[in-house]
Symmetry: none
Subunit: 228 residues, 2 copies
């Protein structure tokens, strides 16, 4: 028998049993890899998986767990299932604490980059902060410039195309005029109508570069709250 295993498409497995088996296997693989990444690269990793039945599986690297034993000293004295629940709870508490800390740090740094809460900084700190912001600004200005050039280039191309088209249309109309003998006003109306369309196109085209906040990725990058 050939046993030709298909290259698996990444889409929902319809067969329930197969899906569950795959979930079990891949979940283990994922947790293993998370753990390996944490160990090999000495970084903190947190992974949470909710199964379809609502069961929770999570992993967080030991360094996250080891920090903040203050809150971690929770007491689960019910002898029924002390081990499992306690550990999960402990992990969650620690994760919360760590995240709070990280969040406080990021928020503080962010405020300072926006020019708030500067009282606590000395001259040296301020100088360093200034440098960081300046380089950030430079990068943003650079990217913006590039983006504008792209936009200008695109628009010029479109303008040229439309001008060409307009010229062609005008020519056609002139030919029809000479052939059929229509009025001058009719001719000018059509011509102006074409131009109006052109301008409208130039100012509001190219959806890829305008406000499309449809994907959460963009929202996230701007630090806006998720839309859903």
């Amino acid at each position: 028998m050939r046993m030709v295993r298909q290259k698996t498409q990444i889409r929902k497995i319809e067969n329930l049993a197969a899906r569950q088996v795959t979930f079990s296997k891949r979940r283990r693989g994922l947790f293993k890899k998370a753990q390996e990444l944490s160990t090999l690269c000495d970084v903190d990793v947190a992974l949470i998986v909710f199964s379809a039945t609502g069961k929770l599986f999570h992993y967080s690297s030991s360094s996250i767990n080891q920090v903040l034993e203050r809150r971690g000293l929770l007491q689960s004295k019910n002898g029924e299932e002390p081990q499992q629940t306690s550990q999960e709870m402990q992990a969650e508490l620690k994760r919360s604490a760590i995240l709070s800390k990280e969040l406080a740090e990021k928020s503080s740094e962010l405020r300072q980059m926006k020019g708030e809460d500067l009282q606590g900084l000395n001259l040296k700190d301020l100088n360093k902060l200034e440098g960081i912001i300046e380089s950030g600004l430079a990068a943003v200005v650079k990217t913006k410039g590039e983006r504008m050039w792209e936009e200008i280039s695109t628009l010029k191309k479109k303008e040229a195309q439309l001008l060409e088209e307009n010229a062609r249309l005008k020519q056609q109309l002139l030919i029809m005029d000479t052939g059929v003998g229509e009025t001058d006003t009719q001719d000018h109306r059509s011509h102006h109508h074409s131009l109006t369309l052109t301008i409208s196109n130039l100012s509001s085209r190219d959806p890829s570069h305008s406000n499309n906040f449809s994907n959460s990725d963009t929202c996230l990058k701007l630090g806006l709250p998720f839309s859903n």
Copy 2:
């Protein structure tokens, strides 16, 4: 040459460059697998990775609120065993998730203010970002200027005090000279010694305004990695 690749031990990679490369590669692999698990098995997955430099990488298969709603709505329906997740646990999970989300947002915003991860932004976004950074920079520069004026003012005051004191000391020495009849050279040596002290004081005084990076708070505010 065989280039026989060793079976890699799972422990911290000591070589920095190799560790960073591995981090980059395995992180991508991990996120890909998390994504695949989510799609294939139709489950919710949240994955958070903090790099050694404090950079955050985050993935969640759907909005965290949805995950939590589902989780919160799920009660024990299987008769075999009551749901282990307590109210307390659910509250912690929710807190963790919310914090994760906020942290991801802050981190992203921060990186963009530093000029990183700008590829997802359109012109309008970039313009807005530029404005925010500019105002932040202005505030920092202003505060820095004020701080410098304070510093200058303080130093000038001290200089005046010390000059006055030196003049007084010089006067005293002159009086003593006339009274006891010491040599001129001795007089000048003392005088010069006083001046030297003065200059030295002016340049390296006031510990509160110079390089004291001893507390983690300062590092934190500047977004430096923790020392531990």
